[in-house]
C-alpha cells in the first residue's frame, strides 16, 4: 500500500507549473490536496513518473467574483470554500452539496478543482458544476481555454484536459436566491454516493435536474414542474446505471426515481 517511486516537484508559480506540464505531459500528475490522487497511488491503481505539487501556489488559493461568476482557484480546499461567508447566498447549490463531499478531515485538504479533475461519476462537486452551468479554466503554454462542465467531464474518471494543461480554476455562475436542492444516498455519510441528485429552479415552472452515479458522468436535463415525475421515470429508463458492490443498476434507477421528485419539489418550493 505504498506508491511506486516518483519525482516530486513543487513549483512556486502557475507559469512554472505550466512549463513543467509542457515538459512532462502525460507522465506527470498534478497534486493539490491529494485526497483522491494519493489513495489511487497508494493502491497502485495509477502510476505517476512525476508529481507536480501546486498546493503552495498562492495565486491559485483565491476565491473571487468576476463577471457574475465565482471563480475558485485550484488550490482552494473544500473546507475553505465551505467557510466562505458568501457561499450560501451566492452559490446555494454548492453550499448544499459540500457537506456531502468526503469527510471533515478530507475536505480540509481536498480541493474543489481536484474533485473536478478526478471526475468520479458520483462526485458531488462535478454534479453541482454541471447543474449550475459552470466552467473549468485550463491553462497551458498554448494559452487558456474555458470549457463548459459538460464539455470538460467526458466519462468515468476522464476529462477533456490535455496532458500539458493545468486546471487553474472552476467557475460557478452566481445564483442569488435560486431555489435548489441536493440529495444523495450513501452507505455512510461522506462515502461515495450511490446516487446523488441536484436540482436548480430556473423559474417557478422549470428545474434543471442533475444526477450523479447513473452514468459515467453527471447527466443534466431541464424538466417542467407539471410532468416532472413522468419525465424522471422515463429518464431513469434511458440511463444505463452501473453495477458495483454497493448497488445494482436497477437499485440505482429505483433510488433515482424516488429521490428526484423530492429534489424537484424542494427546489421549486425554495424558488416560490
Amino acid at each position: 500500500m505504498k506508491p511506486r517511486p516518483f519525482d516530486y516537484i513543487r513549483p512556486d508559480t502557475v507559469e512554472e507549473a505550466v512549463a513543467l506540464l509542457a515538459d512532462y505531459g502525460e507522465d506527470a500528475r498534478v497534486l493539490a490536496g491529494g485526497q483522491s490522487l494519493v489513495p489511487m497511488l497508494n493502491l497502485r491503481l495509477i502510476e505517476a513518473r512525476v508529481l507536480i505539487d501546486i498546493s503552495r501556489i498562492a495565486t491559485l488559493d483565491v476565491i473571487r467574483e468576476r463577471d457574475g461568476r465565482i471563480e475558485i482557484g485550484a488550490a482552494v480546499t473544500q473546507n475553505t470554500l465551505m467557510a466562505w461567508p458568501q457561499l450560501a447566498t451566492k452559490l446555494p447549490l454548492v453550499a448544499a452539496a459540500l457537506p456531502f463531499v468526503g469527510h471533515f478531515q478530507t475536505r480540509n485538504r481536498g480541493t474543489v478543482c481536484g474533485s473536478m479533475a478526478h471526475a468520479d461519476p458520483s462526485s458531488e462537486l462535478p454534479l453541482a458544476l454541471a447543474v449550475a452551468g459552470g466552467e473549468i479554466v485550463l491553462r497551458s503554454r498554448r494559452g487558456e481555454r474555458v470549457l463548459a462542465a459538460g464539455d470538460f467531464q467526458k466519462d468515468m474518471l476522464t476529462t477533456a484536459r490535455a496532458g500539458d494543461e493545468l486546471i487553474v480554476a472552476a467557475r460557478f455562475p452566481v445564483a442569488n436566491g435560486a431555489g435548489i436542492a441536493f440529495r444523495e444516498v450513501a452507505r455512510r455519510h461522506g462515502d461515495f454516493a450511490i446516487i446523488a441528485v441536484a436540482a436548480l429552479a430556473e423559474d417557478k415552472n422549470t428545474v434543471r435536474l442533475g444526477v450523479g452515479g447513473m452514468a459515467g458522468r453527471p447527466m443534466v436535463r431541464r424538466l417542467g414542474a407539471k410532468d416532472a415525475a413522468d419525465a424522471v421515470a422515463a429518464w431513469a429508463e434511458d440511463l444505463e446505471g452501473y453495477e458495483d458492490l454497493h448497488a445494482s443498476a436497477a437499485m440505482r434507477r429505483d433510488l433515482f426515481r424516488n429521490l428526484a421528485p423530492l429534489a424537484i419539489e424542494e427546489a421549486l418550493r425554495c424558488a416560490a
Binding site: 516537484i9 491529494g34 469527510h103
Partner: protein, 162 residues
C-alpha cells in the same frame, strides 16, 4: 521551485509538537511513515492507508488531515501536531483525553489518536457542537471495538453538554 528525484533522500524539516525536527525522506514516503519511522513519533497509527479509516489523522498547520494521504515532502516547513502533543509533560491528560477516559470512549485504542486529533481541530472551530455535528465529524473515523456511543458522550462532555 523545490525538486526531489525519486531515489533522492531529501532532508525534510517540520515542527513536530512544538519542536523543530528533520529527517530524510524520499518523495513517496507518506507522512504517517515519516512520523513513525523517521521521527519516532509512534502515537499516530496507520490503518487502511487509503484515507478511509481515519486512524492516522494529525494536524497540519492546525487542520486535521489524513497523514496517509499526504507525503512527507508536502509538509516541509509546516507545523505538525500528533496525539503526543495532547497530554502535559508529566503525563496528565488534557480535557478531551480525560473525557474519553471517563466515558469508556476507547477499548483497544488503535483508532483513538486520530479521533482525538480530529476533534482537537473541530472543537477549536466549533466549541459547542450539536450531537449531529459530532456524529458527522466522527463519520470520518472507523472504530471496530468500542463503538461510537461512548465517543459521542465524551465529546459532548468536553463540549460542556450533558
Amino acid at each position: 521551485m523545490r525538486r526531489i528525484d525519486r531515489n533522492e533522500r531529501a532532508r525534510i524539516s517540520v515542527t513536530l509538537n512544538g519542536r523543530k525536527l528533520s529527517a530524510d525522506a524520499e518523495p513517496r514516503m507518506l507522512l504517517c511513515d515519516f512520523l513513525r519511522h523517521a521521527l519516532g513519533a509512534t502515537g499516530t497509527h496507520v490503518g487502511c492507508e487509503h484515507g478511509v479509516c481515519g486512524s492516522c489523522t494529525v494536524l497540519i498547520d492546525g487542520v486535521a488531515a489524513r497523514s496517509c494521504l499526504t507525503f512527507a515532502v508536502q509538509v516541509e516547513g509546516r507545523d505538525i501536531k500528533t496525539v503526543e502533543s495532547l497530554a502535559a509533560p508529566d503525563g496528565a491528560l488534557n480535557p478531551l483525553q480525560r473525557a474519553f477516559h471517563n466515558n469508556h470512549a476507547l477499548q483497544c485504542g488503535f483508532c483513538t489518536p486520530g479521533i482525538l486529533m480530529s476533534f482537537t481541530d473541530f472543537l477549536a472551530r466549533n466549541p459547542r457542537p450539536s450531537t449531529a455535528e459530532i456524529r458527522e465529524v466522527l463519520g470520518g473515523h472507523l472504530c471496530r471495538c468500542t463503538g461510537y456511543a461512548g465517543i459521542v458522550a465524551a465529546i459532548e462532555e468536553v463540549a460542556g453538554r450533558d
